[in-house]
């Protein structure tokens, strides 16, 4: 698999990363290098092997349904660039 410049541009847009046209060839080369490296895994025959999702047999831990958190608005809003009263604000987004 190899990425063309259009796909690289699209990935950047989906990730909301602005890139210069002049950076495209370099990024394309880097991304294709990474893909090629990972693609070596295709050489391993995994026919009939259940996908491994973690080491050991750890199961997902769950918690009880009790309220143990929240009510910390100041902390929640502490890094909001432009809070108004109890709210975060963002530049208006209306479709």
């Amino acid at each position: 698999m190899s990425l063309d410049p259009a796909t690289v541009r699209r990935i950047a847009r989906l990730a909301r990363i602005g890139i210069d046209e002049s950076d495209l060839p370099a990024l394309q080369g880097e991304l294709n290098g990474i893909l090629g490296w990972v693609e070596q895994l295709n050489e391993v025959d995994v026919e009939g092997v259940t996908p491994m999702v973690g080491t050991g047999h750890a199961a997902l831990r769950t918690r009880d349904d009790v309220v143990t958190d929240g009510n910390c608005r100041d902390a929640v809003l502490s890094n909001a660039p432009d809070a108004v009263g109890p709210f975060y604000t963002v530049p208006k987004v209306v479709e």
Binding site: L14, V53, L60, R63, D69, G70
Partner: protein, 482 residues
């Protein structure tokens, strides 16, 4: 009779599938310990996990899993003992992490089915494709400021069940019936309050049209419709639009649209072409969710009787018509009320009073069964007075109205107003003789063959006795004399 729409080029049928987002009833959120309750002060039901702070890790709420499994069982669906969580990536201001944790490739619940009943009594089965758990988003407010949107994250991270139907729905009526049935099941199970006005149940509607016998054509998705009535309208409006597009030689584009009820139209969301490119991948913070069959069995044993089962039992146990049974099981509280009234009494009569006079009264006074002005015991008490012939059906209506107004018991009202039914044949015979004497001409006509006058005599006797005579005895007495 199947539902179709007429176009210039002939008859079209519609194909609809629904994705319902149902907010899970739980104390805390799906992956954080913040409160999941509705209506708190802005941004107070928010933990640093919900706000997407770096380094925060999600921990799954056990009860939310139980609620999803209960719902799956209620939909007669397969429970997947192993499921997984994926990240669905998109950018929006009310989604602080930039991804929603959802279940994409391995949902917790697989195929199931929902039985719906239409107005003409037709029964249809709508397939369920899947149910998966996911996080709700926060709320944006666009009307607070000219240049900024305000964000409240109280809802962010609350557990949702997305329930996806097969494209089995063929009319707006079926869509309405499906949503009502789904809501009924969720409420019986206690897994979602089904309150569409508050947004705890919302529907995305997939609509396409086709000529009879064709494969599916391109569909459009109408997002976030928040009432059953609007869903039904939106389907009709969107199907009509698509028929026009096809008939004008155009192509329907697969896109997301919004329904505008005030203008009765759907509008394209003008969304960028990337809207559906969510780049799902397994959430590395969460291991696969493995549940034991024994736990599923335990949850199943704890389920309440479901509406379809209850309806079938009512038909069998109480000998009432299917329609009445369906009406009585619409809400669990109504069914409980009815069973309390019917217990040890004439169950059909009880059904008539509950679905007739009581529902009428509740409608008139704008109340629900929970705050009915007449309790089940009180209504039962009135039926007892009918059963032992203390009052007849006509007087019962009067007693009922009085109970509604005063809240007194039927026995007290009968006592207070002196409404006890007269079964004394002497008094009835006297009234009969009096009525016949005063209407000698009509008696002649009756004897001359005008049978219809019998009802007139009954009415006159009842009137003379202020409605309190036992109708059977009056009939008897009249027949004898005439």
């Amino acid at each position: 009779m199947s539902y179709t729409l007429e176009g210039k080029t002939g008859t079209w049928e519609i194909v609809v599938g629904l994705e319902v987002h149902a907010q899970v009833i739980s104390h805390s959120k799906l992956f954080s310990g913040a409160s999941a309750s509705y209506g708190g002060e802005p941004n107070t039901h928010v933990s640093l996990v919900d706000a997407g702070f770096p380094g925060m890790l999600p921990v799954l709420n056990h009860e939310c899993v139980a609620q999803a499994i209960r719902t799956g069982l209620g939909l007669r669906a397969r429970i997947n003992l192993e499921s997984r969580f994926d990240r669905k990536n998109y950018f929006y201001a009310d989604l602080p992490t930039g991804y929603q944790i959802s279940q994409f490739t391995h949902p917790i619940v697989g195929e199931g089915t929902v039985e719906i009943e239409l107005g003409d009594g037709t029964v249809r089965h709508i397939g369920i494709t899947r149910l998966h758990m996911e996080q709700d988003a926060g709320k944006s407010m666009h009307d607070q400021d000219p240049t900024r949107s305000f964000i409240d994250l109280n809802r962010a991270g609350v557990a949702l069940m997305e329930i996806v139907s097969e494209p089995d729905i063929r009319s707006p009526e079926e869509a309405g019936a499906y949503l009502r049935k789904l809501r009924q099941i969720l409420r019986y199970l206690g897994t979602c309050d089904g309150n569409m006005e508050e947004g705890s149940m919302r529907a995305d509607v997939n609509v396409s049209v086709r000529k009879a016998g064709e494969p599916f054509r391109t569909r459009c998705e109408i997002k976030n419709v928040n009432s059953i009535r609007y869903v039904m309208h939106a389907i009709e409006v969107e199907a009509t639009r698509q028929i026009e597009v096809w008939e004008d030689g155009g192509e329907v584009d697969q896109e997301t649209r919004l329904f505008d009820p005030s203008r009765n139209e759907t509008r394209s969301l003008r969304s960028k072409e990337d809207a559906h490119d969510y780049r799902y991948f397994p959430d590395p913070d969460l291991l696969p969710l493995v549940v034991e069959q024994a736990w599923v069995d335990e949850l199943e044993r704890g389920l309440p009787e479901l509406p379809d089962d209850k309806r079938d039992r009512f038909i069998k146990q109480y000998g009432i018509p299917r329609y009445d049974a369906s009406v009585l099981v619409a809400e669990q509280a109504i069914a409980d009320y009815y069973e309390e009234v019917a217990k040890g009494r004439d169950a059909r009569l009880a059904a008539n009073w509950v679905t007739g006079d009581l529902f009428g009264a509740l409608n008139r006074t704008g109340r629900g069964i929970q705050d009915s002005p007449i309790s089940a015991q009180a209504l039962g008490g009135m039926l007892d007075l009918m059963a032992d012939k203390t009052i007849n059906g006509k007087i019962a209506k009067e007693v009922f109205e009085d109970m509604l107004e005063t809240g007194d018991s039927a026995a007290d009202i009968v006592e207070r107003k002196g409404l006890k039914q007269v079964t004394d044949t002497g008094a009835i015979d006297a009234a009969v003789a009096d009525v016949l004497a005063r209407n000698a001409d009509k008696v002649e006509e009756y004897r001359g063959g005008k049978d219809r006058l019998f009802g007139f005599f009954v009415g006159q006797v009842m009137k003379a006795m202020a409605g309190k005579a036992n109708p059977a005895i009056v009939n008897e007495a009249l027949k004898k004399v005439l």
